[in-house]
């Protein structure tokens, strides 16, 4: 265990004797299935659940020779931006005491930042890899939708989420991505990435000479002053290395965070219906009828944020509100995709602060869910558009709090964002 509560389970899983990750430890987020090792998704509902099979990404880690030192703490079912909603206690930010590590993959970023694992896997539905990477001063990549298999990931919002790497440097994150990426017969949404001639790690050569970077002004407007200052310092650094930047307009992103929450909550309300205390999950007992027993099990097993999202998702999909919320959110999603496509015709990549705020103080945002949701304004558009993005450390505020810089690329443009990010970290 760690003093900052980074792990839920510390059972070691040994990989093959040799391979590209031999001798290295890769911690795994606790919503990714590990055969024979407890996997809770941060929920009391799944306490004691032991998957009978490995997620594809875990199988690939083992084949690559990695050792898994444990399963990392996380917001319950990936629902949170601070890793305070875990049923196994909140995670402390190991590089900024008294502050949250970000979420929902907060445990994964924390164990890497603290040096308790060489690298880690996270999952990103609306920023859950990039946010904790930014808050803990490490690197995180949210891959293009379809690049990495989701087989064995405990689902929250299938159309948005991807598993991805967290590491101290861009090159190490790229090495881990190399092992994870590629089609999987168990996940029909996966596909072969084009242009596979160069490895992801080889793309981490720091060469940004001639790179054209678009900066969406909308993603800077509401951001904290100290974050914006650190962001521009990092952009100046990239410019000094030969990159150029220009401002771009992405009007759609101002509606992205609302669209994201409507879609994610709707998918969650459906996905989490499986936790009924009969097939798995904590049992509500056998008194009363099926519905009463089911509702009782779910009251006991789920935390408040999960209930909030299931209910809001049920509401958004219910007759009378479907067109008002869900259909409009799908329109917003299509608009966001178009906007990004257009901006990326005039720029190789786009850059913004990863999070509009520095790491919050612990306990600060739990009482006000809406404020927590709005903190995801810069990361959620990328998931709606199914694009790849990386968060790299951009520097620190005057108070010593880490700030992340997000670089977004075109679909399957992982090499472009890795190359750009490696000029900074």
């Amino acid at each position: 265990m760690t003093e900052y509560n980074g792990y839920i389970t510390t059972e070691t899983i040994e990989g093959a004797d040799d391979g590209p990750l031999a001798g290295r430890t890769v911690a795994v987020k606790d919503n990714i299935s590990t055969e024979g090792v407890q996997t809770t998704a941060g929920s009391a509902m799944l306490e004691g659940y032991v998957p009978p099979y490995d997620a594809t990404v875990v199988r690939r880690l083992k084949e690559a020779g990695a050792t898994v030192p444990g399963k990392t703490n996380m917001d319950e079912f990936g629902m949170g931006t601070t890793t305070e909603t875990s049923a196994y206690g909140a995670v402390e930010n190991p590089v900024a005491e008294g502050h949250v590590p970000g979420g929902s993959s907060g445990g994964s970023a924390a164990v890497v930042a603290a040096g308790d694992a060489d690298m880690a896997l996270g999952s990103d539905t609306g920023g859950s890899i990039r946010c904790p990477a930014a808050f803990c001063g490490v690197v995180g990549i949210k891959p293009t939708y379809g690049l990495v298999s989701r087989y064995g990931l405990i689902a929250y919002a299938n159309s948005l989420e991807q598993i991805g790497p967290i590491a101290p440097s861009v090159e190490e994150a790229a090495e881990l991505l190399e092992v994870l990426a590629g089609p999987d017969e168990h996940d029909a949404t996966t596909r072969e990435a084009p242009d596979a001639a160069e490895s992801y790690a080889d793309a981490a050569d720091g060469d940004v000479d001639g790179l054209s970077i678009g900066v969406p002004t909308e993603l800077l407007d509401g951001a904290d002053e100290a974050v914006v200052e650190t962001f521009w310092d990092a952009m100046d650094d990239l410019e000094a290395q030969g990159a150029s930047y220009h401002e771009v307009d992405l009007p759609s992103v101002e509606h992205a965070v609302e669209a994201y929450y409507v879609i994610a909550m709707s998918e969650a309300s459906s996905n989490l219906a499986r936790f009924d205390g009969v097939r798995y999950g904590q049992s509500g007992g056998f008194e009363g009828n099926w519905n009463e027993s089911f509702a009782n099990a779910r009251e006991e097993g789920f935390g408040e944020e999960v209930k909030r999202r299931i209910l809001l998702g049920t509401y958004a999909l219910s007759a009378g509100y479907h067109d008002k919320y869900y259909k409009k959110a799908q329109d917003a999603r299509a608009w966001v995709k178009q906007d990004f496509d257009e901006a990326l015709t005039d720029a190789d990549v786009l850059a913004s602060p990863t999070m509009p705020v520095p790491p919050m103080e612990r306990g600060e945002s739990l009482d006000d869910p809406l404020t927590m949701y709005l903190a995801d304004a810069n990361t959620t558009p990328v998931n709606l558009a199914n694009l790849p993005a990386i968060s790299v450390p951009a520097g620190e505020t005057d108070d010593g709090l880490p700030v992340g810089l997000q670089i977004v690329g075109p679909a399957f443009g992982e090499r472009a964002i890795i190359r750009a990010g490696s000029a900074l970290a």
Binding site: H255, Y315, Q338, L370
Partner: protein, 92 residues
């Protein structure tokens, strides 16, 4: 008052549909929060109609028997099972 404001009855109704029991305090808190959150979602009204990708179609393939989890493995995480089957509450 916004037309998205919700009352406690509505929260209880949705909780019932979602099969989640709620305590009285939770109903009170959610009623207040849902008003704020749904108000924020109203911003979606400003989204212009956008050409979307073509409608999705189901692609079917014939069923084929493949290797899968054993019955024992599939039941291993069930709180209760009996004679190789999940055991649920009474349907009444």
């Amino acid at each position: 008052m916004s037309d998205s404001a919700v009352d406690p009855e509505e929260v209880r109704h949705v909780a019932d549909l979602a099969r989640v029991d709620l305590g009285d305090e939770e109903v009170e808190r959610f009623t207040e929060q849902f008003g704020d959150i749904l108000d924020a979602f109203e911003a979606l009204d400003e989204v212009p109609e956008t050409d979307r990708e073509p409608e999705l179609a189901n692609v079917m393939r014939p069923d084929e028997v493949r290797e899968s989890l054993s019955q024992q493995d599939a039941l291993q995480n069930a709180p209760e099972s009996e004679e190789g089957q999940f055991k649920g509450p009474k349907v009444s």
